[in-house]
């Protein structure tokens, strides 16, 4: 049976893993290869790297980091941050990424997603959707949740799925950082509406939250950062917990 996936997310800047403390101070949290090896040993199903300081100048550093990680761990790697054009995707795939996450650029040039899926295959293209509740619906935000777009997030996820995105990395800006759990309403609404896979993100504080995202939210995969980085739980503990809830996972 197809397993539900547990994906640790690593924020990187200038080729190093960084941690935000209270979302203000960014501290160096080490070498990406070491972090990747640690999660590999814990049984992570995939790794996601997001370049939070993506800039034209730092592209080379990011490519180099991806290549180095890909030499040491043999599992799917998703890389995102500052992807604006087909050439960026090609560069990351060539460096060793298996999937590339597109965020802000998809909002400004939706056709990029269609072109990318046609050229590189749906399973290679992830669209990151940052959603925030506005009155009775959810709206897409860009720039780390600061800029509203006026776009309905559920409709947007559907459009991106129809354009060929293989996965939607769905982050609730309301839940992110709260440790109160995923926005289950958002996750489930999107999962029911689209044919692409849904990765739930934002808000995990307990193992129960991971189970909720998969069972109540109907997500295909759960992504979390701080509970793994700060050593609150290991990936293995998370998967053992999910298995105890009857959720199919790879142990």
């Amino acid at each position: 049976m197809l397993s539900k996936r547990v994906i640790p997310c690593l924020d990187v800047a200038h080729g190093r893993v960084v941690k935000g403390v209270q979302f203000v101070d960014i501290i160096d949290a080490g070498d990406p290869v070491e972090a990747a090896i640690k999660y590999d040993q814990q049984g992570a199903d995939e790794l996601t790297f997001l370049d939070i300081r993506a800039s034209h100048e730092s592209r080379g550093t990011l490519y180099h980091m991806v290549t180095e990680v890909a030499e040491h761990v043999f599992m799917p790697l998703t890389v995102g941050g500052g992807v604006k054009a087909l050439a960026d995707i090609e560069g990351l795939l060539h460096a060793g990424a298996d999937k590339v996450s597109i965020n802000t650029a998809a909002i400004f040039t939706p056709e990029l997603v269609k072109d990318a899926a046609e050229r590189f295959g749906s399973s290679t293209i992830v669209v990151a959707v940052d959603a925030k509740r506005v009155e009775s619906h959810w709206e897409c935000f860009t720039h780390g949740g600061r800029k509203p777009t006026g776009i309905n997030a559920v409709e947007w996820a559907k459009r991106m799925s129809d354009y060929g995105a293989g996965e939607i990395l769905l982050t609730s800006m309301d839940a992110d950082g709260t440790k109160d759990g995923y926005d289950i309403g958002l996750t489930r609404t999107v999962a029911d509406a689209i044919s692409a896979n849904v990765i739930a993100s934002g808000g995990v504080g307990t193992l129960e939250h991971l189970a909720e995202g998969l069972q109540d939210g109907k997500a295909d995969a759960v992504l979390a950062a701080s509970i793994f980085h700060f050593g609150t739980f290991t990936i293995r503990q998370s998967k053992e917990f999910l298995a105890s809830r009857g959720i199919p996972v790879r142990l």
Partner: protein, 209 residues
Amino acid sequence: MIGLVNYGMGNLHSVAKALEKTGGKVELVSDADALKQYDRIVLPGVGAFRDCVGALKQTGMDVALKERLAAGTPFLGICLGMQVLMDVSYEFGRYPGLGLIPGAVNPFPASHPERGFKIPHMGWNDVILSSQHEPHPVLAPLAGLQVYYVHSYYCAPEHPEHLLAACSYGDYPFAAAIGRDNIVAVQFHPEKSQRAGLALLEAFQQWNP
């Protein structure tokens, strides 16, 4: 020395690294004439069926591959590198394959998100070894482990003896591995399947069909 067939369609880095990690010496081969220098051949798979077969034919690699396979060189096909072995594929039309294993490449049915069935089939799933014969030496290390799949099409071999392992997605059983003689081919990605995948690649390098 392992020849990793390079038909110019994608990144072979992770397959090469995984083979090296499991003790292999690897070289990329783009020249069909050079293929005979290698004592094992790996055909990875990226892209669309039609383009892949087209690239193999254009470079003469199709003929060279058939020749080496007939000569008994141990061969591993991965993902699309498995699918091109079949007679025919129905990916975006109807295209002939290399015809090394009788059968077809079929699409999964359309997505049914409400039933939890989504295309592509992506993620970790089983490898159920065929009970018809002894476990294949290359696949035996995978017993009880899951591996990483990413695909929207699957191989349906005509003869049951060519089916070495199966998997199922939703209600759909499909071929996880096929083969005969010195040919073994897998739908999943050993180079992305952590210890299970590395164990397979190691077993392939020790295989003497």
